[in-house]
Symmetry: C2
Subunit: 219 residues, 2 copies
Amino acid sequence: MKGREFKDAMYDGLSKLMKALANPARLEIIEMLSQGEKSVEGIVDATGLTIANASQHLQVLKNNNIVKSRREGHYVFYSIINDEFLALYQHITKYAITEVAVLEKTLNRHRQDNLALNSVTLDELESMLHNKHVLLMDVRPPSEYELGHITGAVSVPMNELLCCLKDFSKEKEIIAYCRGPFCVLADEAVKILTENGFNVRRLDEGYPEWKVKQLEEQK
Amino acid sequence: MKGREFKDAMYDGLSKLMKALANPARLEIIEMLSQGEKSVEGIVDATGLTIANASQHLQVLKNNNIVKSRREGHYVFYSIINDEFLALYQHITKYAITEVAVLEKTLNRHRQDNLALNSVTLDELESMLHNKHVLLMDVRPPSEYELGHITGAVSVPMNELLCCLKDFSKEKEIIAYCRGPFCVLADEAVKILTENGFNVRRLDEGYPEWKVKQLEEQK
DNA sequence: ATTTTATTCAATAAATCTCTTGAATAATTG
DNA sequence: CAATTATTCAAGAGATTTATTGAATAAAAT
C-alpha cells in the first residue's frame, strides 16, 4: 500500500466516523444512551422521531461502532459501545460549549432564562460534598437514578419536586444535576426551587461526566 | 426558549461542528495544519486538491471555528484555531485508531509493510531519552522542525536520509518520528534504516501529540 | 397456528454536500 | 496604472444523506 492509498484509507475511515456524528437526531440519541441503555421505543418517546427513522439512525450508529444492541423478548435495547467512546463524546460536547461561540451563547441564554447561572463544577462539587449543609439532588427519572448516580445524591424526579417542596430545608444549599450540559431538567429544577425561596445551584455537567471522571481517576 | 427549542439549537450547532469534520479532504488539511500554519498553496501542494477546492474546504473549517487565517502579502496562511481543538482532534484520531477495527487494521498492515511495527509510545520515549545510546530523529521537512520539535531531537529530513546514512552510529538505537499516526514519513524512514542494518523503531505518535502532552503537563 | 407487538428493511423524493469550472478580488510588481 | 500572483466567490451537475411511507421479520401471546 503506497503512501497516498494509505492516507486515503485512513481519512476515509475517520470521516465515516465523523459522518455518523454529524446529525442532530443521532447526537440526541447518543446523549440519551449515555445515561444507560434504552429500547427503540424509549428513544422514540424521548426524541419524538418516528419509529422507522429512529431505527435507521440506530443502524448508522451501530455500523460505525458507536452503539451496540441486545434483544430481550419483543424489545431491542441499545447502549453506547464502550467508555472510551463516552469519554470522546464528552470531550466533543465540552469543546463545543466552551469554544464554539454560538453554542456557548445559546446555553448561557437558556440558563439565564432558568435562573441557572452560577453553576457548580465537578471539581467544586467534590469539596462541597463533605459539607453537611449541602444537598445533592438527582432530578432525572427514577429509572436512570437506579442505573447509576453520583455518590451521595438523593433522587427527586421532576414530577415529585413540586409536591415535596416542604420536605427540604431552606437552610441547606441544594445542588441539582441531571444528564449533562445539554439536559434541561436541572435548569427547570433550579427555576422552581429558586422561585420557592430555596438556595439552589445546578451542576455544570451531569451524571455521565461524573462517571467518566470516576473511571479516569481509578486508572 | 422552551426545552425542545433549546435542544434543537444545541444539537444543530454540535452537528454543524461534526459536519465540518466529516470529510476526508478537510481532515487531511487539519492534520497538515496541526504541524503549524500553512499557506493555501502549501496545502494544495501537499494534498493534491485543486486550489478552489482547497479554498472552499478552508472556508468551511474557518466558518466552524476550527482554523483561523492571516494574510501576508499575496499569501493567506491558515492555522488551527487553538490548542483545545488540537487536543480534541487528537482524541478523535486516537479513538479511531485504537477502537475502530477497520482503521486499526489499515494502520497495522501499513506498518507491517514498512517494518515499522513495535513502535515506541510517548511515555516510553520519556525514559529512553535519558539514555545516551538513543538517537531521536525528526524526519519531517526542516521548515516544520524549525516551527517546533521534540526536545532533544535531531532534524534528518527524508531527502537527506539516504545520503547521510554513514553519519549515524549502528551502536545507537534510533527512534524516528514525524507528524503522528497518520503520517507516513517515519514509516518510510524505518524501512530505509532497517534495510541498511540500523536498529530503528518509530514513535507511535508524532510532534503534535507530544506538544499537546507538554501543554497538559504544564497545567 | 394465528394474531399482536416491536423493530427492521426497502424505495423514494427532497435537501444537502462535493467537485469542477470560470469569473472576481486583493495585494504586489513592473 | 496595467500586469501578475494567490486566493476567493458563484453557479451547476452529480453524489450522498435524510425523513417518510409501507411492507417484511422476529418473538411473544392468544
